[in-house]
């Protein structure tokens, strides 16, 4: 079903785009010196596919308050009924297949 649920938050940071959709296989998350964003430290999130080289990377560098706002929005979104149902189904499948 269409859930039409969304969380909108204001954020501060920098993002690195790519020209097209890319496959991603890993998410790397750290809190460290950013490359570009104007903060001494930032939440660094990289969605990557190492098999495709270091350039297969969708990156964001967020200031710490934006990072917390993002985390709350993710938690709120994933607590909606459809997301909870899908998660329970996925975990059940994983348990049965494991």
């Amino acid at each position: 079903m269409c859930t039409w649920t969304s969380e909108q938050i204001e954020i501060a940071g920098q993002g690195r785009g790519v020209s097209d959709w890319i496959h991603v296989s890993n998410a790397n998350i750290s809190y460290d010196h950013p490359a570009i964003a104007p903060y001494e430290h930032a939440l660094l999130i990289d969605f990557v596919d190492p098999a495709q080289g270091v350039g297969a990377r969708i990156a964001v560098e967020l200031d710490v308050t934006s990072a917390h706002a993002l985390m709350r929005a993710l938690q709120t979104t994933l607590a909606t009924p459809q997301a909870m149902l899908d998660y329970d189904t996925a975990m059940t499948k994983q348990t049965l297949s494991g």
Binding site: N28, D32, H33, A35, I36, Y39, E40, V48, P50, R57
Partner: protein, 247 residues
């Protein structure tokens, strides 16, 4: 000046990439190896190399993450970061790359035979280590190198202990200049005091300059940590130090 990307033998004979900037003058010139900070061989580190070349030094910045490339400097650094510091920049590998960079500088026809090293952030710690492990160097500058001591790293969310390099300073033979901000947490004022004391007790040649209203990375012009007045004075101290040790 001439600015170009070069290749030379690093640790274990690996052919690594470096960013070279050199003045075009007739007189023999000293060399400087710049050890880039943890975010990678970014535009600011290249600016540092050009500024040193402008001051008369043939300067090379070995790309310590070169083995993860090729690619954009930020992508390569991101790939290194996910491996963790110990795997991305093991001390022996960095020392081999620094020694390779110094040897490369001495092969250039305009070299006067003297080579110094300067490093920032993690590179500051590595410059201190190079003063111990690469005795062919003639001068070393440690700019706010943290994790000198084996203690809890304040930037590590899991509170792990950094391995530290203080145990190596007993073998330090290269004159050392230190540049530190008094608002920095790693190294903290207390840690810089301890390093100063250890070097003094061991009778190692060193001079520290410490700045109020400056934290970590206060030379870095494209970050909010930049402090103009302190940075200008720090660079002046570095030029005087290199002038004294590399000519």
């Amino acid at each position: 000046m001439l600015v170009e990307t070069v290749r030379f033998g690093g640790h274990g004979g690996d052919l690594i990439e470096g960013y070279l900037a050199r003045p075009i003058i007739a007189e023999p010139t000293p060399g400087v190896v710049v050890i880039h900070h943890a975010p990678g061989l970014d535009p600011w580190c290249r600016e540092v190399a050009r500024n040193l070349a402008f001051a008369g030094y043939t300067t090379v910045v070995p790309h310590l993450y070169h083995r993860r490339g090729p690619g954009d400097w930020a992508d390569v650094a991101a790939a290194a970061r996910v491996e963790g510091l110990d795997k991305a920049m093991p001390n022996d590998q960095v020392m081999g790359d620094v020694a390779g960079a110094a040897a490369y500088l001495r092969t250039l026809t305009n070299s006067n035979g003297k080579v110094g090293v300067i490093g920032f952030c993690s590179g500051g710690r590595q410059a201190l280590l190079a003063a111990c492990d690469v005795p062919t160097l003639d001068a070393a500058v440690n700019c706010w190198g943290g994790s000198i001591f084996p203690e809890v790293d304040p930037y590590d969310p899991e509170g792990r202990r950094a391995s530290g390099v203080i145990h190596r300073v007993k073998d330090m033979t290269v004159p050392l200049l230190g540049i530190f901000g008094n608002d920095d947490l790693n190294p903290s004022v207390e840690q810089v005091d301890r390093l100063d004391k250890v070097l003094t007790v061991l009778d190692k040649e060193h001079t520290f300059h410490r700045y109020d209203d400056a934290g970590h990375a206060f030379f870095v012009t494209d970050k909010p940590s930049y402090r103009q007045e302190q940075s200008v004075d720090g660079w002046k101290r570095i030029r005087v130090f290199f002038q004294d040790k590399l000519y």
